[in-house]
């Protein structure tokens, strides 16, 4: 457990956050499909509130063990990043997503997400 953020999951999908000062790390694993999208939506809302409350500078997502993501989840990420983009500069935090080079879909999907918010999202891996 990290502040208001807690690990959540359903069968086949898990989100594990960790807060360290002004840095938040989150590991996503499994398959984020229609049964997991609402969980992701709620988590990202909480994550954003937590990041603002903690005056976080960075949020690092580890998606190396994320094996599938549907288009609704893609929208969830874009909605979150859009909220960050419109923040005043002092409140804005940077997001990085670590991808798995052996899962080629990740570069296509997260690449599309990154194009929607290049000023706040960097892809690593």
């Amino acid at each position: 457990m990290s502040g208001g953020l807690t690990a959540v999951g359903i069968e086949g999908f898990r989100i594990e956050p960790e807060l360290d000062g002004t840095a938040i790390a989150v590991k996503l694993s499994g398959n984020c499909d229609s049964q997991a999208t609402s969980l992701l939506d709620v988590f990202l809302v909480t994550l954003h509130e937590q990041a603002l409350g903690a005056r976080a500078k960075t949020v690092a997502l580890d998606c190396e063990e994320l094996y599938f993501m549907n288009s609704a989840s893609l929208k969830s990420f874009v909605t979150w990043l859009t909220k960050i983009k419109v923040l005043p500069a002092p409140q804005r935090y940077q997001v990085s997503i670590r991808t798995n080079r052996f899962l080629a879909w990740q570069s296509r999907s997260f690449g599309a997400i990154q194009r929607s918010a290049p000023e706040v999202l960097a892809l690593v891996g």
Binding site: S71, K75, S116
Partner: protein, 197 residues
């Protein structure tokens, strides 16, 4: 209402005659196929189950990257069926054929992956699908239309990104055929046969 088509093409996909469509493009022998029919919309669990079935069934035929595309496209089509199909028969199928012509043929390196879904939907959802296909087809590059749809997605209920994702991330030719209230989608791509199963 007569049949209407909306089609987006992709350079290098299907090297048949110019007038060929994804539905009629010549292909040779069937390598593998999977077909499903429902009398009512499939449950929300079906896309995940079919994704796993496809992964296990086709991993010996195609390279991992191509399999990820096929699985993604199948998932998006099936989620659309689960969300938008109304009364009437619902069908979904995946076929792998040996590609016709250059690079294809028995022992050749290429296959054609063809995914097809068909369902009855409300007039609103049919119009919406036609609109997205038209945007993808008329954009200078489909990626541009995809990026615009992604940006717009935050302003609407539901993502409405599935078709664009099939076209752009799947890099598949995508054809929509509307016959009355029934919409049939055909996605197709030439893929490399797996060299070391």
């Amino acid at each position: 209402m007569g049949e209407q088509r909306g089609r987006t093409d992709l350079d290098g996909v299907g090297r048949g005659p110019p007038e060929a469509t994804a539905r009629h493009r010549p292909v040779d022998r069937l390598v593998a196929s999977m077909a499903m029919v429902w009398r009512e919309p499939p449950s929300k669990r079906v896309p995940s189950m079919v994704r796993e079935l496809l992964s296990a069934s086709y991993e010996g035929f195609v390279e991992p990257d191509e399999l990820q595309r096929i699985v993604m496209v199948a998932h998006e089509m099936l989620e659309n069926l689960a969300k938008y199909a109304s009364d009437g028969q619902v069908t979904f199928g995946v076929e792998l054929h040996e590609a016709h012509g250059e690079g294809g043929g028995e022992g050749g390196g290429e296959l054609v992956a063809r995914l097809r879904s068909s369902n009855v939907a409300t007039a609103e959802h049919v119009r919406e699908a036609e609109g997205i296909l038209a945007r993808l087809g008329s954009a200078a590059h489909p990626v541009t239309a995809y990026d615009e749809l992604i940006a717009e997605s935050t302003q609407r209920t539901g993502s409405r990104l599935g078709l664009a994702r099939i076209r752009v991330e799947g890099e598949m030719a995508l054809e929509g055929i509307v016959e009355g209230a029934r919409i049939t989608l055909v996605a197709e791509r030439r893929i490399a046969r797996r060299r070391h199963p």
